[in-house]
Amino acid sequence: MKILVCISKSPDTTSKISFTDGNTKFDENGVQYIVNPYDEWYALVRALEIKETSGGQVTIITVGAAADDAVIRKALAIGADEAVRINADPKDAFYTALQIAHYARNNSFDLILTGKETINYNGSQVGGMIAESLDLPYVSIATKLDVNGNVLTLEREIVGGVQVIEVSLPTVVSCAKGMAEQRIPNMRGIMAARTKPLQVVEPTSVDELTKFIGYEIPNAKSTVKMIAPENMEELVRLLHNEAKVI
């Protein structure tokens, strides 16, 4: 079984978010990049578990610049066999997805996994776009994934519940909490990652359909109104008369 896991970098979850160049560019000063948690904790670890029980190969792919190699090595240290980096700035989800789809089309995979969403742009777009480009089924926000021969059994979130579904390979799945447990890379993994193959592929030409023209930091809350713990009638009154939410 050949599995392709899409890995993106994201700023460490405690990073301070600010912008430069007249609020048009994300300020990377002092920002630590990590592997996007959904991609690492769920998609990658589940792919490795499948490989460990039924054999196969796990390839990770990133659309990004050379600076992203550090993040890629981290994912290799957790246990992926090889990595591919499409050497381009991931301009938007469409651009990113079509680059990945192009690579996948020429290197047939049985299963393509993405994270549920990136924690910087939160679009939840890339997986569905890859699936449509390859004309494959797409299961989004799966919380459990089992392979039985050519058939995947999955659990996915639906509005207010969960559903068990089946789909045949090849297919694209986006992965969320529940699918696997985070793994901490060990020293051997980190050493091995240094020599694992990391192939750099030049991008194919893809249109840019959307463009971020600027950013804003939302207004901070005006100061909090404190209410005495013995006076919950006052809180109810404020929620009704002032905030108008009840």
């Binding site: 939160n122 989004s140 297919t171 939302p218 809180l235 905030a243």
Partner: protein
């Protein structure tokens, strides 16, 4: 023409009225939907500005590939230049597919109507910032974050026509569906009561459930609480859990770590109840109570019951 897709498996959710209202601000709206709602129910979408509803009752809405074909067909049929989704579980998979099929730019997670320069605001960095996105193609797709605009009733009911589109067989086979009975699904809830490690143990959640019941609110929790198994996983809110934007979020015994805030900072009003006056959550709160949850929460529930009985 504006095409609005609504997911209407069982009745119409508030998000349906939001997307139709949003569409109406941009042009003439036709709705495409699937599932088993009656014509009578669907015709009420006219009150929010739809001029017509197209419904395909043979499509069950479980397979994103089928839905994409249905919506692409409708867009062609009415000559739409914009397609609008709600940014829910279906919108997240189908809007992305449609973007590729239609070669149209997708604005994912829109939180407002377009600015004068045509750009649309979206939440980025888990709500810590807002991005302004412009679409470069003449056809556009917008996926609207629930609870971003207020539905507006302006006209009267509209016509409903049944369609039967060839969407081919579904690749996804549903084996079973579990919906917890009687609970309010978290992503749709307008009022949410949430608790964290400050509650000390799962046996203490009764006071949280009582408060939620009194408000008719959904319940949520912080991540460690779901991880240790005190509460079910689907209640976990935050950066790595569900992101919500209810009208009211009451946080009890939650410190307000940045990863937790990332999932709830879109809430209109935040109430924080915590013993520690230095808890970071107070900085993000509208109303704060420094006190012991075990005393404050039952008092709040009692005050609410009192308030409700005085209402009618």
């Amino acid at each position: 023409m504006i095409l609005v897709y609504i997911n209407s498996a069982n009745g119409l959710a508030k998000s349906a009225f939001e997307t139709v209202t949003y569409g109406k601000k941009l042009g003439d709206v036709v709705v495409i939907t699937n599932g088993n709602n009656s014509n009578e129910t669907l015709s009420t979408l006219g009150e929010y500005g739809a001029s017509k509803v197209l419904v395909d009752r043979n499509v069950d809405g479980e397979d994103a590939q089928q839905m994409t074909k249905l919506i692409a067909w409708a867009a062609q049929e009415i000559g739409a230049h914009t397609v609008i989704f709600s940014h829910d579980l279906i919108g997240k998979s189908v809007a992305a597919r449609l973007s590729v099929r239609w070669n149209a730019g997708l604005i994912s997670g829109a939180i407002a109507l377009p600015d004068p320069d045509g750009s649309i605001r979206v939440n980025v960095f888990s709500g810590k910032a807002i991005g302004k996105v412009q679409v470069q193609t003449s056809n556009k797709i917008i996926s609207l974050l629930p609870n971003s605009i207020q539905p507006e009733q302006t006209s009267s009911s509209c016509a409903v026509s049944e369609v039967n589109v060839n969407v081919e067989a579904a690749a996804i086979k549903v084996i079973s569906t579990k919906k917890p009975e009687g609970e309010i699904p978290l992503p749709e809830a307008e009022l949410v009561v949430s608790a964290g490690r400050g509650l000390k143990g799962p046996e203490n959640w009764g006071i949280i459930e009582d408060l939620a019941k009194s408000l008719n609110a959904a319940t949520a929790c912080s991540r460690p609480v779901a991880d240790i198994g005190w509460r079910p996983h689907h209640e976990h809110v935050g950066q790595t859990g569900v992101a919500i934007r209810p009208n009211l979020y009451i946080a009890v015994g939650i410190s307000g770590a940045i990863q937790h805030l990332a999932g709830v900072n879109g809430s209109k009003v935040i109430v924080v109840i915590n013993t520690d006056p230095e808890a970071p959550f107070f900085k993000a709160a509208d109303y704060g109570v420094v006190g012991d949850a075990f005393e404050v929460v039952p008092k709040l529930t009692a005050a609410l019951e009192e308030f409700k009985s005085a209402q009618y």
